[in-house]
């Protein structure tokens, strides 16, 4: 077996020997021109096959052979005629130029093939990124493609997330990062690392990767970045000397970009999965609440209807049953609302609404519980522009309805509860004021807690202390606040502050076009 490096030389030697022997045997039948042309052919063939060095050497040796064997006087280095010297020089020049041209073309072709292969590898990286069903499979696919491309000198290539390495990072890299805090910090800041077999590490700028050459056992760690954020690591461990100049360096740089892309994909799909799970839980919760709601309310409806029927026939206890069923119904509603408020995916839909619209709805809703008391509505004197805010209509109605009902409960028959609206800085302020006993200073925050104990001392013993907790929760869910203040002259004022807004179609033009795009 002949070593690969010797082959072109042996080829050149063989070609020269065969040609010389053949021509020498036929020397009487050929002239100098035939011999020169045949040698030129040999030089071209050897250059094309063996490259510049072999080509030039063959050309020089061929000149000597022509001189010796085929120029008169034969078998002598002397040259008889000047024209033969010129012929020899012409041969040498032609052979040298031809060798140069052939080998240059050959080198260019080789370079083009190499570039094509590199472009192909980079394209494969892109395809590898997209080919896999899951991001983790894509990371493995990229790594194994890189290993194949880098060849036997690459022991192992790994892509993993950062800072959540997720059990994928090689142990020696992990050990080095744990041992030296500055290495981890440098990585987080976007620098690359070289970790030696003994665990010692150095940092460098990732752009300098092509100036690097790994020795056996060394590992290079490149940060995978999205914008300025480091989202992952690319580690390549060398099994043998692995120069990274040129194509390998470019491959690793591209791999870092694709790896970052896959990690972003993984993050996005994880987020989507989490959203879906939350949505699933939310839907399940909604189904449970809906059936609970049905199962609790239907018997209440029956009890109420039966009791009303009985009351119609003169049963004196029936009205009390109706009243108790009503309380139970309110309690059920509050408990279900509280359960709904904690559910993920329950979102309010704040939009520009007129204050008078929601106040009108409150007046209507509480009409049935006035029971000899009055609800006085006060609105600012606005000529054209109705007072408005950005809020969820139903939630706000629920808050105000609750506040007014509470206020009515502590107001004696014949007295009134005040419901007023106004602008307070950036806010639309809706206030419910009563002349009841007020709330003791120590209890003014307690009343907003769910299941607070104050309700037991309230005149209406069935209050579980849920209404105000729900009301505050609803206020905050729409960027509002709900607060208590003692009323001058006795009583309480509950103020709901919501973002102020103008009620015009133009004001929400952009929002509505977004809404229609979404819809």
């Amino acid at each position: 077996v002949i070593p690969r490096a010797w082959r072109p030389w042996l080829l050149g030697l063989g070609a020269l020997v065969v040609t010389t022997v053949a021509l020498r045997l036929a020397r009487d039948g050929v002239n100098q021109a035939h011999a020169t042309l045949l040698y030129l052919l040999v030089v071209l063939a050897v250059s094309a096959k063996g490259g510049r060095g072999v080509g030039l050497t063959t050309a020089a040796v061929a000149s000597v052979l022509i001189d010796y064997f085929f120029q008169v006087p034969y078998d002598d280095f002397d040259v008889a005629r000047t024209v033969d010297v010129l012929a020899l020089l012409a041969f040498m020049t032609t052979a040298l130029v031809a060798t140069h041209l052939v080998t240059t073309a050959r080198a260019e072709a080789a370079e083009a093939r190499r570039r094509t292969a590199e472009a192909w590898t980079l394209a494969r990286l892109g395809a590898e990124t997209l080919r896999h069903a899951s991001p983790d499979a894509a990371l493995d696919g990229l790594a194994s493609l890189a290993e194949r491309t880098l060849g036997a000198a690459c022991a192992r290539c790994v892509l993993c997330g950062w800072p959540a390495i997720g059990g994928r990072a090689p142990d020696d890299v992990l050990a080095a990062l744990r041992a030296e805090r500055r290495l981890a910090d440098a990585l987080a800041a976007g620098r690359a690392l070289v970790v030696a077999a003994n665990g010692a590490g150095g940092t460098f700028e990732p752009t300098a990767i092509e100036r690097l050459s790994l020795t056996a056992g060394e590992t290079v760690v490149l940060p995978l970045r999205v914008e300025r954020r480091v989202v992952g690591l690319l580690t390549v461990r060398a099994a043998d000397a692995l120069p990274l100049a040129g194509a390998p360096g470019r491959l690793l740089t591209a791999l870092a970009h694709y790896g970052a892309l896959v990690l972003e994909w993984r993050r996005a799909s994880d987020e989507a999965a989490r959203e879906a799970a939350l949505g699933e839980a939310g839907r399940l919760r909604e189904v449970v609440l809906a059936s609970l709601s049905h199962d609790l309310r239907t018997p209440l409806a029956t009890i109420t209807a039966l009791a009303q029927d009985a009351a119609g026939h003169g049963d004196a206890t029936a009205p009390a049953i109706v009243e108790q069923a009503g309380r139970l119904a309110r309690l059920v509603e509050n408990v279900l609302d509280l359960a709904r408020l904690g559910a993920p995916g329950v979102r309010l839909d704040p939009a520009v609404n007129a204050a008078e619209d929601v106040i009108g709805a409150v007046v209507r809703q509480t009409r049935g519980v006035l029971d000899g008391r009055a609800l006085r509505v006060t609105l600012p004197d606005d000529d054209d522009e109705p007072l408005a805010g950005r809020f969820d209509f139903v939630a706000t109605l629920r808050i105000l309805g609750n506040l007014v009902e509470n206020a009515l409960r502590v107001t004696p028959r014949g007295a009134e509860v005040e419901l007023s609206a106004g602008v307070d800085g950036e806010h639309l302020a809706l206030a419910v004021a009563d002349r009841g006993p007020g709330i003791a200073p120590g209890d003014r925050e307690v009343i907003f807690r769910p299941f607070h104990r104050l309700g037991e001392r309230a005149p209406d013993g069935t209050r579980l202390g849920l209404g105000l907790a729900i009301a505050r929760h609803l206020a905050e869910a729409q960027q509002g606040t709900l607060s208590y203040a003692a009323r001058a002259g006795g009583g309480s004022v509950f103020t709901l502050r919501l973002p102020h807004a103008r009620l015009t179609i133009d004001a929400e033009a952009s929002e509505s076009s977004e809404a229609s795009l979404r819809g």
């Binding site: 709601s293 009108g360 509505s512």
Partner: protein, 231 residues
């Protein structure tokens, strides 16, 4: 006052059904009862009632489907009883063809009032389209497209007029935001709620005695609007 010959009550809870039927005997000469959606549909096909009270929680069929099926077979008012309080549910119901809904638990008085309102509206519908509609001291002249209060003209913009007319033509019936928007603007794209909020607010300022305590154009929170003619 007997407003109807026959009312159909559909509810799987026999006790509730019976007490509703009992209450309805004041407004109808006969009340027929059905315990399942299938029975209800059969009843409507056999001897059409003048109004249906339909509980959505039925053992055999989905309440929405029953409502939709009934609506395909009859034009009579359907008053739905629902345990669900969500606004989306109400919108879905109204758009499935229900005329009104009452959420549980309800009082019989309330249900009777709703049933009576629907029966009156049905009578109103049977008559030829009127030339004028009276809403308290407000008079709508449908031919001239004018509104007067006690003889004095009330100036409405074309959109306000159209809103008022659509609502007044179906007194007592809640129209969802989309239904109203479609009827007034003739299109389904755009922010229906915003357009309605702006124009209803301005309309109320022209026709209501106290816009913050409206009695003619009532907001059904999260669902739509309803015209309530003064009794």
């Amino acid at each position: 006052m007997q407003l109807a010959d026959r009312i159909l009550v559909v509810d799987d809870d026999a006790q509730l059904r019976r007490s509703i039927a009992q209450g309805l005997r004041d407004v109808a000469r006969s009340v027929v009862e059905a315990g399942t959606g299938g029975e209800a549909i059969a009843h409507v096909e056999r001897e059409p009632p003048e109004l249906v009270v339909l509980d959505l929680g039925l053992p055999d069929l989905d309440g929405f489907e029953v409502c939709r099926t009934l609506r395909e077979r009859t034009v009579v008012p359907i008053v739905v009883l629902s345990a669900r309080h969500g606004e989306r549910e109400k919108v879905r119901l109204l758009e499935a063809g229900a005329d009104d809904y009452v959420t549980k638990p309800f009082s019989l008085t309330e249900l009777l009032a709703r049933v009576q309102a629907q029966l009156r509206r049905a009578v109103f519908y049977v008559q030829a389209t009127p030339k004028t509609i009276a809403l308290g001291d407000l008079t709508l002249d449908l031919a001239r497209r004018t509104v007067t209060r006690g003889g004095a003209a009330v100036h409405l913009t074309p959109v306000e007029w159209s809103l008022l007319r659509v609502l007044a033509m179906q007194p007592g019936r809640t129209l969802t935001h989309q239904q109203l928007f479609h009827a007034v603007w003739g299109r389904t794209y755009g922010d229906a709620k915003l357009h309605l909020r702006v124009h209803v607010t301005h309309l109320r300022r022209k026709i209501e005695a106290r816009p913050a305590e409206p009695t003619l154009i009532v907001t059904e929170p999260g669902v739509g609007y309803r015209c309530e003619p003064p009794a």
